[in-house]
């Protein structure tokens, strides 16, 4: 008996959207085994990880608080990934967006005005775009790999943030803690649901995903991105600009990551701190793939990953599991997802070496 793989001529849609579910199931199964190896009660630990985040209103609101930035960033990244632009420095773009947004909040500290928050959004987007423009410039001008430059800039952004909160932007009344002043009312995103941390940022994320869906489905730009990514040669013949696509997708991803960073500081955090996120910029890469680089899929995937974050926090409290366990889950999920893509592209045939009749009698 042997296995034979045939490339599928047509890819069934149910497989494209079904395999992420398979990957999630396999990840949960592996988690069960991992917890057993670690000497934990696998059933109750999995319950803490997966179900406990959904049990309270607070938990459900947290899904949107954590899913929001993931969806925002992943939407931008997915457009780049479609065009074969590998921006993996979203975490740095997020940090810069947070810095720029916080800059506005601190400059107008104590002021009132409905224009402060919109200005912070613009500043956040600009900060992220500025940081993404560096790899875009180096890629289009000198053909430097955006993978390495965007990632290196993530470390640089974290250090810029560290300089600011340890130095010029440190709260003068903050007992020397490395953090900025708490933003005043006018620079804080309004809470939608009383008693939770759910704020306007979640709506912004949904709006961005919807806009990206329209862009990809109905516009020439969206078509151009797909062609540049899937058939660079055809794109060249069609006169689609490779460089233009690199600029567009990096700036867009930078702007969305920057807004995500601004939304974090103006939402749940309320000030600038040295550690802004538990690595949303990197997790968003997984969200983008889990959502099949499709904005609607990304919204669902963002919620799934938000569960893993909240579950990880709960597991830290109730099962003394290190925070890092979340990363193991997320990495495994991406592994399984990439592996299951094989099922999408190839049909597996089982061939018996012997004629059928003999197998039946054996």
């Amino acid at each position: 008996m042997s296995l034979k793989f045939e490339a599928r001529r047509e890819i069934p849609r149910w497989l494209v959207y079904g395999t992420p579910l398979l990957a999630i199931a396999l990840t949960i199964l592996s988690g069960y085994l991992l917890f057993m190896i670690l000497g934990l009660n696998p059933g109750s630990t999995l319950y803490i990880f997966l179900v406990s985040p959904l049990e309270t209103q607070f938990g459900l609101a947290e899904l949107a608080v954590k899913g929001g930035p993931l969806i925002l960033i992943a939407t931008g990244l997915a457009i780049g990934f479609r065009a074969n632009v590998w921006n993996i420095g979203a975490e740095g773009q997020l940090t810069m967006g947070a810095i720029f947004g916080a800059g506005v909040a601190l400059a107008f500290w104590g002021d009132e005005g409905v224009w402060i928050l919109p200005l912070m959004f613009v500043a956040g987007a600009l900060g992220g775009m500025l940081w993404a423009a560096i790899p875009a410039f180096l890629k289009t001008k000198f053909e430097v790999s955006e993978i390495l430059t965007s990632l290196m800039l993530t470390y640089v952004a974290a250090l810029v943030l560290s300089i600011l909160v340890h130095g010029p932007w440190r709260d003068p009344d903050g007992f020397n803690f490395p953090q900025s002043r708490l933003f005043t009312e006018a620079a804080i995103l309004p809470v939608i649901l009383e008693g939770t941390r759910l704020h306007v940022g979640a709506l912004v994320a949904l709006f961005a995903a919807a806009a990206a869906w329209v862009l990809l489905t109905y516009t020439v730009t969206g078509f151009q991105i797909k062609v540049v990514g899937q058939a660079p040669m055809a794109a060249r013949f069609a006169g689609f600009s490779q460089k233009g696509t690199v600029w567009f997708s990096l700036l867009l991803a930078g702007a969305l990551a920057g807004i995500a960073g601004m939304v974090e500081v103006a939402g749940p955090i309320g000030q600038l701190t040295p550690q802004l996120t538990p690595g949303y910029g990197f997790t968003a890469i997984i969200v983008a793939f889990l959502g099949r680089l499709n904005p609607i899929g990304i919204v669902l995937a963002g919620i799934v990953m938000a569960i893993s974050y909240i579950g990880g926090e709960n597991a830290q409290v109730y099962a003394q599991l290190p925070q890092a366990a979340t990363g193991v889950f997320q990495g495994m999920l991406l592994f399984y997802l990439l592996a299951s893509d094989f099922l999408v592209r190839y049909r597996i045939r089982i061939q018996s070496a012997k004629p059928r009749r003999e197998v039946a009698t054996a």
């Binding site: 670690l38 590998w86 993996i88 560096i134 180096l138 001008k141 000198f142 053909e143 430097v144 790999s145 993978i147 390495l148 430059t149 990632l151 290196m152 800039l153 470390y155 640089v156 250090l159 810029v160 560290s162 300089i163 340890h166 130095g167 990197f282 997790t283 890469i285 997984i286 793939f289 290190p322 925070q323 890092a324 366990a325 979340t326 990363g327 193991v328 889950f329 997320q330 990495g331 495994m332 991406l334 592994f335 990439l338 592996a339 893509d341 094989f342 592209r345």
Partner: protein
């Protein structure tokens, strides 16, 4: 003064060695056509396994060996995904790094803050006691010499052996190599796992010798810098060695500048940025200069291969 210069040189060599291990390993994988962006994750696993095994068995050799095996095991996962299941190499490499960061932190949760004796320094009669030359060349621990020996061995292997030629052929033109009967996928499996083992060794050197301890994320981007070094060294071991020592120099310069930074009035973080900014600068110079045509990546780098028959 001489003492100071010797001290600086020695610290540069030590700072460069983890990146040298990882970069030479990645070079072999890339020459066979496989781009593994999981170096950071494999180094971290090497670091935590090397530390843990050395601490619990008391044998550094066992620790170092296990670190290499652990790195290779992680690379095997990567290889199955990209070589057998033909997953996208960039995405899979990123998954490997995310997974490696998480798994190493999970394994190492109990090791944080534990002390360990660093690797013993070499003590060769006569040679090690020579003035200047002794401390400069003959007082490192064995892994420093191992890293240089492996770099030379890889250079020799790629240039002068038949197997090395096959490996390069697989990376340059998988289709042709396959048609004259070379096992493309098999060669790539071995090259990828060698890369993983080397990244594991680099990680173990970090947690056993450079800073004898375990801390979450202790590689802080060295794996990514190793990836940049392969480009910087234009896929040649000798140049990668040179690049690693230059970056070791930047790291040490950064540490010393931090020490004296207060006199200049700059925050210490400005100096910590140096290695990352240097990486960007170096990549740009390599790609922008008049020599750009001469630094070609292996033609099949990052592409999946599926034998047509």
């Amino acid at each position: 003064m001489t003492d100071f210069l010797v001290l600086i040189t020695v610290s540069i060599v030590i700072a460069a060695t983890p990146m040298l291990f990882a970069a030479v390993g990645e070079l072999v994988a890339e020459r066979s056509g496989v781009l593994n962006l999981g170096v950071e994750g494999m180094m971290l696993i090497g670091a935590v396994v090397g530390f843990g095994v050395t601490m619990s068995t008391g044998s550094a050799i066992l620790g170092i060996g296990s670190a290499a095996l652990a790195g290779a095991a992680l690379a095997l996962v990567f290889a199955v995904l990209v070589l057998t299941l033909m997953a996208n190499q960039v995405a899979t490499g990123l998954a490997l790094t995310i997974f490696g960061i998480g798994l190493s932190a999970l394994i190492g949760a109990g090791f944080v803050g534990m002390p360990i004796a660093g690797l013993p320094k070499l003590d060769i009669p006569v040679l090690s006691t020579l003035p200047i030359i002794g401390p400069l060349l003959f007082q490192y621990d064995a892994m420093v010499y191992l890293s240089i020996a492996l770099t030379v061995a890889v250079g020799w292997f790629l240039k002068y052996t038949h197997a090395g030629m096959v490996l390069r052929a697989v990376g340059e033109s998988a289709e042709s190599a396959h048609s004259i009967g070379h096992p493309v996928i098999g060669v790539r499996y071995l090259a990828t796992m060698f890369g993983g083992a080397m990244a594991g060794l680099g990680g173990a050197f970090l947690s056993l010798s450079v800073t004898p301890m375990w801390a979450e994320n202790m590689t802080s981007g060295r794996g990514w810098i190793a990836l940049a070094l392969v480009v910087f060294g234009s896929w040649r071991p000798g140049r990668v060695l040179l690049g690693a020592y230059i970056f070791g120099g930047v790291t040490i310069l950064q540490l010393h500048a931090q020490g004296s930074g207060s006199t200049v009035g700059l925050p210490s973080q400005v100096f910590t940025m140096l290695p990352y900014l240097a990486t960007i600068a170096v990549l740009t110079i390599i790609s922008a200069g008049p020599w750009r045509g001469r630094f070609q990546a292996p033609a099949c780098l990052g592409q999946s291969f599926r034998p047509s028959v």
